[in-house]
Structures are given as structure tokens and as C-alpha cells.
Amino acid sequence: MSVIEMSGLRKEFTVRVKVGRLRREKRVVTAVDGIDLRVERGEMLGYIGPNGAGKSTTLKMLTGVLMPSAGEARVCGLRPVAERTRLAMRIGVVFGQRSQLWWDLPLRDSFDLLRHVYRVPAGEHATRLARCRDLLDLDEFLDTPVRQLSLGQRMRGELTAALLHSPEVLFLDEPTIGLDVVSKQAVRGFLAELGRAGDTTLVLTTHDLADIERLCHRLVVIDHGRVVHDGSIAALHSRYGSRRMVVAELDAVLSEPPELPGAPLQRVEADGHRLVFALESATVAEVVAGLAGLATLRDISIVEPDIEEVVARLYRAPVEVGGAAVTGAP
């Protein structure tokens, strides 16, 4: 059984829009438009999409905050809204924009309170807290009231709070929003560590694709409430023809463009001194060997495919009908 199952999940919001000076009109916004998805135990899922795609709405339906308009969701075999409190025991949630902690209490007290709320035995609680303190560097501000914490400090607190009851599934909605480089790395490192252990399922939404590259093997892209890609990051690259590039700097300008099998020439730059090849079936060594016969190599570098670029293309592309443009399963 999958840890998370969604079938035909939909959410519609009725909103009133101002038309003209006084009149208002009801309009239906389909935030999530029929999502079918399964997530297995231990998977690290990157759930991305442009602003307003319906990511947060999906997560709220999976955590029992929002009632779906149609379709079904199961998390840990439970129906999120109907069995909300039971589900809450088994999942951890961080909504990056919204605090779960007690505003006026020191972080330490919040954690202690959560121990009671989630009914975690004191020993277990202490072990896990110690680990989080260590990995997330909490010690400095453990006794500061939450309202006085900086964003990054608070977010580390939120993560800890979501993990103290060792949830089976962790839902993170933009956990790295507004964090500086160091905090981001701390959070990512922590989550990577969690993923390595292999028994926590992670669903992560973010706009920082580096989070995804670092943490997630599977990537689901949604747009206008529909899945437009589901697969590994590599699958996404191959779908959009983004490949690794070899950039070769030559001493001399070649009279005619070189033909290397499995590595078509992409661009010629710097008055013919710089050649850019895409790596298809050839290896870097083969390209180097092929070029060495033609001219003296001054420098060679390899450019990884740019995920930002690929995703931007995906976001800009019109949504396919049915939204089920699924490529390569992981």
C-alpha cells in the first residue's frame, strides 16, 4: 500500500471578484484539478509548480485542513479530514509561512508542550530533541520566546517541532523560504540525513530548485492544478532535451565544424575559439579524444544541465489536455 494516495483530487474555491465599481461576481477557482498520485514509503517527493499552481492546497487536503471538493485522498491509509486527529499523530507538517509554535513561549517550552500533545514518551522525546539540536544548531536560541526568533531560527524550530513525534510522513510547504545560505544548508542537510534513514516519506514544495536537486529523486510538477510532469529529475532533462555540455577552448580556429559521433555541436563562440558540444551518447573522454586530433585544447569544462532553465520552460509551456503528460517513472 502506498503511503499517500490521491485519486481525482479536486478543490474548488468560490471567490467574489469585483466587476466594475460596485458589482461583485462569483467565480470558481479550481485550485487543484484532478490529481492522481501515489507516493511510496521512504520516497522523497519534490512537489513544485509556479505560483498559484495548487501546491499548498494539495498539501492542506492531504493534512486534513481542507475538505476536497471531489476525489479521494489517503495518507497512511487514513482519510485526512474524517480521521484528522489520528492522522495528525502520524504526520509532521511545516507550513513555511505560518507558525505552529506558541508565540509567547520559549522554543523549549513549545517542544515540551508538543511532547504532551503528541504523547511522546519522555525518553524518546529527549533523544530526538538532542539530535535536532545537534543537527540544526538550536542551542543558541532554545530559551528565546518564539516571537523574538529570526525567520531562519524559527524555521529550524518548526522543523524540529514537526519531527519530535517521528512522523511517518513529513509535509513541508516552502521550508526554506526566506532563509539565508547557511540556514538553507542546515535545513537541507538535516532533511537529507532524514531521507538517508529511509523510513520517513517526505513531500516538499519549494521554489528553490536547489532544494529539490539536493533532496528529491522524484519530481512532480503541477500547473493550474494538474500534474504536468512526474518522474526523476533526469527524466525531466531528457524530456526537454537538456543535456550536459562540453565547452572546449581551442588554440586555433577550425576551418570546418568538427563532427563528433554522439556529441552534436551546439554553438560556436569567441570567434570560433570556443565550441560547445552536447553530450548525448558520447562520453567526455570521447569528445576530448576526438578534438585532440583536430587542434590543441587550451581548456575544457563541463556544464551541468540547468534545472531552473528546464523548469522555467515547463512552466511557460501550455498545459496539456488531461494534464497527464507523465514521463518516465522513477
Binding site: 498559484g52 486527529t85 495528525a88 508565540w103 513549545s110 504532551h116 504523547r119 510547504d173
Partner: protein, 292 residues
């Protein structure tokens, strides 16, 4: 208030979550609620002077309710056919019931803000029922002063109204205030659920909660027309103080209802609580959070 079992209103209907873990299931839930209560007491202690000011201010509110009644009797000998002593029994029942319900459940007033800002999300992702969490998260201990004052008014009024005590009346004077508490608690919860549907409903709920308090502070004979019909019997406010007071005082109802109606208060309160529980359950499914 430390135990969910003593919650008024619809709270008992919201069953505590069942724990998967075998040991200490029941005590676990209680422990969780107790911890919530403790945490909130601690965060209130962070604002100590405000707490004292609130204590005083809250008594003041009830004092002025009583003062208003006294002032009105300063210009008239009878209000709706009731003397000052009789009217004070009504005021006492109403003040005590409202103040206690306000202490225990009045916090729900903050629901509209939670719904509008999406703060309610955080309540929903915790493994406890939403309603007790909301109430305990900021139990306004400062309102205790008001309960004490309300009780004092109630005791003073029933002892000085010349009531002819029978066993039945003694039972009624104990049960009726509690029924009033349950009833007002149910009103608080039911009206708060409006904000699930109408997010900007603002102070709308006040018209029924605080309006109900004012309504129940006077004999219903004071009011007229459909307004009386709506508040007294449509919503049931007549059973909080008016009918029980008639039964205690041994007066016939000038409006012609039979004497046993005064004893119907607990039944009415239970019906109200059931409606509140239902409204809450349906309402929570309409919660729409906010855009992230």
C-alpha cells in the same frame, strides 16, 4: 476546565482522538489538554499587569450591567410587570450563566480571526480536537472575576427575593444556572461557525451572544412583537433566566405559558448543545484556509 469532560456546550460531542499507542490512551489526552492549559497560563503570566487590569475590567463590565438595571428601576417601580427584587433574580441568572460560558467558551470569539488569517491551519494539524484546543489555547483566566461577581449577584438576589423554598426550587436554583451556562456556550459556538461561511462577518456573532446576554437580563414581557418571539422562543433565550425565575418566584407567566416551562431549561440547553456540535462539525468542513 482541566478535563475535557467538564467542558460545557458541545465539547463532549467532539470525541478526543483515539490513540494508536496501547498505553495510557485516555490519560494521554487529558495530559495533552493539561499541558496546553499550563502553557497558556505561562504565556499569560508574561503580561502580569495586563492580567490584573483585565480582572478589574471584567468585573466592571458586569457591574455596569447591574447598574443599568438599578438605574432603570430608579425611574420606574416596575419593569415589564416585575419588581426590582424579582428582576434581580433574572439578572443574576443571566449574569452568572453568561459570565461562566464566556470564561469557558467565549474564547471562540477569536475564531473569525483565526479563520480569516489562516491561523486555524495550525490548530487542525495537531492531533487534538479543534474546539477544545481553541478554547484552551488562550483560556481567559482573567474572566474568572466576572464569574465570581455574577455568582454573587445570583446568590444575593435569590436569597433576598422572598422565595418560598421547596425541594424542587432548590434543585432548580442549582440546575438552571448550569443549564444557562450550557445554553450560552452553545450559542457562542454556533454563532462562531458563521465565520466559516462568511469570513468577514466580524462582530455579527456579538448580536446574538452579547445581544442574548442583554435580552436575558430583563423579563421577556418587556419586549414585543416578532422580536420577542424570535429571541425568546425562536432561539430559546427565554429559558435561560425568565422562565426559571418565574418558577423560582412562583409567579404565573403573564404571557400564559404553563408553570412547568421553567423546568425545561436543561432540556433546551441540551438541544442547543446538540445543534452547536452539529454546526461545528459541518462548519469545520467548510473551512477554506487562505491562499498561502
Amino acid at each position: 476546565m482541566a478535563e475535557p469532560g467538564t467542558l460545557t456546550g458541545p465539547a463532549p460531542a467532539v470525541a478526543p482522538p483515539e490513540d494508536e499507542r496501547p498505553a495510557g490512551r485516555r490519560s494521554g489526552v487529558l495530559g495533552a489538554y493539561r499541558a496546553l492549559l499550563g502553557a497558556q497560563a505561562r504565556s499569560q503570566a508574561a503580561y502580569r499587569t495586563s492580567f490584573v487590569v483585565d480582572l478589574v475590567g471584567n468585573v466592571g463590565a458586569t457591574v455596569f450591567d447591574v447598574v443599568t438595571v438599578l438605574v432603570l428601576f430608579g425611574v420606574t417601580r416596575e419593569l415589564g410587570g416585575f419588581t426590582l427584587h424579582e428582576a434581580l433574580v433574572i439578572v443574576g441568572l443571566s449574569s452568572f450563566a453568561f459570565a461562566t460560558a464566556d470564561l469557558l467558551v467565549g474564547n471562540i470569539e477569536r475564531l473569525p480571526r483565526y479563520v480569516r488569517t489562516g491561523l486555524f491551519d495550525a490548530v487542525l494539524v495537531r492531533p487534538l480536537a479543534a474546539l477544545p484546543q481553541l478554547l484552551l489555547m488562550d483560556l481567559p483566566l482573567r474572566k474568572v472575576s466576572r464569574v465570581v461577581f455574577g455568582l454573587a449577584v445570583l446568590v444575593a438576589s435569590v436569597t433576598s427575593a422572598g422565595i418560598h423554598w421547596t425541594a424542587g426550587r432548590v434543585a432548580l436554583v442549582l440546575v438552571a444556572p448550569l443549564a444557562g451556562v450550557v445554553f450560552f456556550g452553545a450559542i457562542f459556538v454556533t454563532t462562531s461557525t458563521v465565520s466559516f461561511y462568511w469570513i468577514d462577518s466580524g462582530e455579527l456573532a456579538n448580536s446574538v451572544t452579547y445581544g442574548g446576554r442583554d435580552f436575558t437580563s430583563y423579563p421577556v414581557t418587556v419586549y414585543g412583537g416578532w422580536f420577542r418571539a424570535l429571541f425568546a422562543y425562536g432561539m430559546g433565550f427565554a429559558f435561560v433566566s425568565y422562565h426559571p425565575a418565574l418558577a423560582l418566584l412562583g409567579r404565573a407567566d403573564p404571557l400564559g405559558l404553563p408553570g412547568w416551562v421553567g423546568w425545561a431549561a436543561p432540556g433546551v440547553a441540551l438541544v442547543a448543545a446538540a445543534i452547536a456540535a452539529l454546526a461545528w462539525r459541518v462548519g469545520i468542513r467548510h473551512y477554506r484556509s487562505t491562499g498561502s
